[in-house]
């Protein structure tokens, strides 16, 4: 009879096992010591004179020499508005009209681009009516627009904190709309959170950021507008927290942390879903009495401007939100709504 396992086979197996462990240790050590070269290519855009924000106009600041000019992620062509507000229509129609007014999705999504759409799918508890998660048709419309613009792949992902991702994707209704639109719903994988140095950050100098987000050609941020007791409101900049692994640490001095993160990720387009807004008991929701039907979509390449405008929908001023003031200070965008070119579209009319 043959012996089930002989010494040679045992040693071979053990060596393979030890090798794997050693390799892992070694590679982990390597990846920890090498700093990622920032920032991702997608974020760097040539500066346009029209859009240089306040801070960048001070060449004396020592930072300015190192910082890749803190411009808006996508430069605004002279004819396009800075921000578009679409009102009172079906979600998809509002998104389409808003993006068209901004110059069409082709402006943001190059042919064959690898796009990630980042909605807010924070929990698996309720359907979209409860306004804890982004409106599925808004997400679906963005996926369609990206594909129509010739994107190679459109992936949709978030990292829910309550319940599992698969379940949250289904319950929110987003999975269904994304699949119908031809996009891909992806569960985030824990091996892909890469410890990343964030250059020029004031607070958040290091974070484990999701690799696909860093590698994507285009990131589109599509938050739902809702109440939050610390940030006061969850909007575009707050929605980016989902791409960081240890997000609890962001809570301390949240405003600055969010500005640091947004400055690194730089979504090319922010579309704020204010179709149904959660006015209280956010971010998780669960009570329809807390939901206000606003039937509004706010879209802008400037994440700070989009958040600033959305704040006013809640009767707040942009300055009320610490991440907006931090974002303006970091030169990520503008909150001076009175000086922005804002185009308002009444879709229903």
């Amino acid at each position: 009879m043959t012996t089930p396992i002989d010494r040679r086979r045992f040693l071979r197996g053990a060596a393979a096992g030890l090798g794997a462990v050693t390799l892992n240790q070694f590679l982990t050590a390597c990846s920890a010591s090498e700093t990622r070269t920032p920032p991702p290519t997608s974020a760097v855009q040539p500066a346009q004179p029209t859009s240089i924000p306040v801070t960048a106009s001070q060449p004396a600041a020592p930072l300015a020499t190192q910082v890749p000019s803190p411009v808006q992620p996508t430069a605004t062509p002279a004819t396009s508005p800075d921000l578009v507000v679409a009102r009172s229509g079906e979600p998809e129609a509002m998104v389409r009209r808003a993006i068209a007014a901004l110059g069409g999705m082709e402006r943001f999504v190059p042919r064959d681009a690898n796009v990630i759409v980042k909605p807010n799918i924070c929990v698996a508890y309720h359907t979209y009516e409860y306004a804890a998660t982004t409106n599925p048709w808004v997400v679906g419309a963005l996926v369609k627009l990206c594909l129509e613009a010739g994107a190679r792949s459109v992936r949709v992902m978030d990292n829910p904190f309550g319940g599992s991702a698969e379940e949250a994707y289904e319950v929110s209704g987003i999975a269904e709309q994304v699949k119908a639109a031809g996009g891909e719903m992806v569960v985030m994988s824990r091996m892909k959170f890469m410890p990343t140095d964030i250059p020029h950050a004031v607070m958040l100098t290091q974070a484990a950021i999701y690799d696909d987000i860093l590698k994507a050609d285009v990131v589109i941020d599509v938050p739902i507008a809702k109440d939050h007791s610390l940030a006061r409101l969850t909007l575009g900049m707050k929605n980016l927290m989902g791409v960081v692994r240890e997000r609890e640490v962001i809570h301390n001095r949240m405003g600055q942390n969010l500005a640091d993160l947004a400055g690194y990720i730089r979504p090319k387009l922010t579309v704020i879903d204010a179709v149904r807004m959660l006015m209280a008991n956010g971010p998780t929701g669960g009570d329809l009495n807390d939901v206000k039907e606003m039937n509004t979509i706010v879209a802008s390449p400037d994440i700070v401007a989009a958040d600033s405008y959305a704040a006013t929908l809640f009767g707040r001023q942009p300055e009320d939100l610490t991440y907006i003031t931090a974002g303006v200070a970091a030169g990520l965008g503008r909150s001076d709504l009175n000086n922005l070119r804002i185009e308002e579209i009444n879709v229903g009319a």
Binding site: M1, A20, V21, T28, Y125, E166, M191, H251
Partner: protein
């Protein structure tokens, strides 16, 4: 008839069935998760276990319709004796796959006295008598509960750790990151979990299992021969089994069959007869016999009593031991005051839990956050390895009612999601001496943010704190609304404080009149 007949094919068939069954059981366990296969399918394993079903029926004084599946196993045993052990049992298959002892034709049967075979009957009597008094603790020795528990708590989390570290290492190699990414997307969350699973004392469950395998060093299938209480029960039924092993007059006593028998029940000094209560119908003896003198024939008779079958005295002794044990469990202090952190799954009534739970661990496996863990001392020794929620390791997800769906014996009631959301399983209390807002006077609000209730049970108050330099800071401090909190524990799970959370869930309820 001197021509030697080959039974290789039968043995190959047995091995195929063994491996297939093992793989099916593992597949069922992998799919015992939210979003996996239907609960009534995945928990079929336990409903086929006569020991668990019988003990549970005695203990809870009720028979569940779903447990009728057990008649299949009983029928199999009435026809073919302990074929369950030799052909189906996943633990038995693992023990066959890892024999540890080289079996050669010159090998003698090990030097373990036959009397040890009575240990399994002793264990069986203990389990059944204790069940009569509403106790099921010793079902931890049921082979299926051992297998499921080990898989859930030790084997699968460890496998996941290994795969994750390999994946993570390879993902960082530039040209491998894309293929690894595709493999990972295929693997998770379908087969492996997307989040790592952590269990308290995972090593202990692994060690017990390794210990059971290591007993193979003493004798092949040591566990099945001497210890397995389910084997004992099936052995009793097998004494009247239809198919019997018969040795013809042509046997010349070459002793080959005694050396290959994995349970060592073929004895030369009994004319190579065997005990049907020990034979696992593996058919190895049929194949090895050079003169083909062995046959399995239908017979209608009870097999003779063996020396190791429990005597009346041993039976009474075991029964007395069981009664004494149950009595001592009942005298334990945990019966007077429950442990602070005895957080049971939603809808559980403590006493009903103890006399229904068969310790199979299906609920633990199905819990998507892995907060449900086998209790070690929260419910006393009597409640060993019953499910308990450890919120620091995982919360009771507001979107989930899996545990009650998958429980094969309704120790955890099957509740609709709406009903489950109203079950109060505990109450959260804030430790103001450790809370970031209260003690460090910094904004945090994580517990409030995480609270899943439509009207949050954690609410915030703006409070001014005087600093050492007499200035004041305003901080949002959390409070718990005791009337709203359901004790799901997501606040404790997510609390950013290291070590014990600054908000913890305690056993619900207060004494009467408060």
């Amino acid at each position: 008839m001197s021509a030697r007949r080959s039974f290789r094919r039968w043995i190959t068939a047995r091995k195929i069935i063994q491996i297939t069954t093992l793989l099916i059981v593992i597949a069922l366990l992998i799919m015992t998760r939210r979003g996996g296969w239907p609960p009534d399918v995945v928990n079929l394993i336990m409903r086929l276990d006569p020991l668990a079903v019988l003990a549970q029926a005695i203990s809870s004084r009720s028979f569940l319709l779903g447990s009728t599946a057990v008649l299949l196993t009983v029928l199999l045993t009435v026809i073919a004796g302990r074929a369950w052990c030799g052909w189906l049992c996943p633990l038995g298959t693992v023990l066959d796959l890892i024999p540890l002892r080289k079996r050669t034709l010159r090998d003698k049967q090990p030097n373990v006295p036959h009397s040890w075979r009575s240990i399994k009957y002793g264990l069986l009597i203990l389990i059944l008598v204790a069940a009569l008094f509403g106790n099921l603790t010793l079902l931890i020795f049921d082979p299926l509960t051992i297998f499921i528990r080990t898989f859930t708590i030790a084997l699968w989390p460890a496998t996941d750790q290994v795969v994750t570290s390999i994946e993570t290492a390879m993902y960082r190699v530039p040209f491998l990151s894309d293929p690894i990414s595709s493999i990972d997307a295929w693997l998770r969350p379908t087969i492996l979990p997307s989040q790592p699973e952590y269990y308290r004392d995972a090593w202990l469950f692994g060690a017990v299992f390794i210990g059971i395998i290591a007993l193979n060093l003493i004798a092949p299938r040591f566990w099945c021969r001497y210890l397995c209480p389910l084997g004992g029960l099936l052995g009793w039924i097998s004494r009247g089994a239809l198919l019997r092993r018969e040795v013809s007059e042509e046997c010349k006593g070459c002793t080959l069959c005694t050396t290959v028998c994995p349970t060592g029940t073929i004895e030369a000094n009994k004319r190579y007869a065997s005990d049907p209560a020990e034979c696992t119908m593996c058919l190895e003896c049929l194949d090895v016999c050079p003169r083909s003198t062995i046959e399995f024939q239908p017979r209608l008779k009870l097999s003779p009593r063996q020396a190791y079958d429990p005597s009346r005295r041993q039976f009474l002794g075991a029964a007395a031991f069981a009664i004494g044990g149950v009595a001592l469990f009942r005298a334990d202090a945990v019966r007077q005051h429950a442990d602070d952190h005895l957080i049971r799954p939603p809808g559980v009534i403590e006493d009903a839990m103890l006399d229904k739970c068969i310790r199979c661990g299906e609920c633990v496996r199905s819990c998507p956050t892995h907060g449900l863990q086998p209790a070690f001392n929260q419910a006393g020794l009597e409640g060993l390895w019953t499910p308990v929620l450890i919120p620091r390791l995982g919360y009771c997800a507001y979107s989930c009612n899996s545990c009650g769906q998958v429980c094969p014996v309704q120790a955890i009631p099957s509740l609709s999601l709406a009903d489950k959301r109203t079950q109060v399983i505990g109450k959260a209390y804030i430790d103001q001496n450790r809370c970031i807002a209260w003690a460090d006077q910094r904004d945090c609000i994580v517990c409030e943010e995480m609270c899943p209730l439509p009207e949050k049970a954690v609410y915030l108050e703006k409070r001014d704190f005087m600093q050492s330099d007499k200035s004041t800071v305003t901080v949002q401090v959390p409070h718990v609304d005791r009337n709203k909190c359901i004790g799901c524990g997501i606040c404790e799970f997510k609390c950013p404080v290291n070590g014990n959370a600054a908000i913890r869930v305690y056993v619900p309820g207060t004494q009467a009149a408060f």
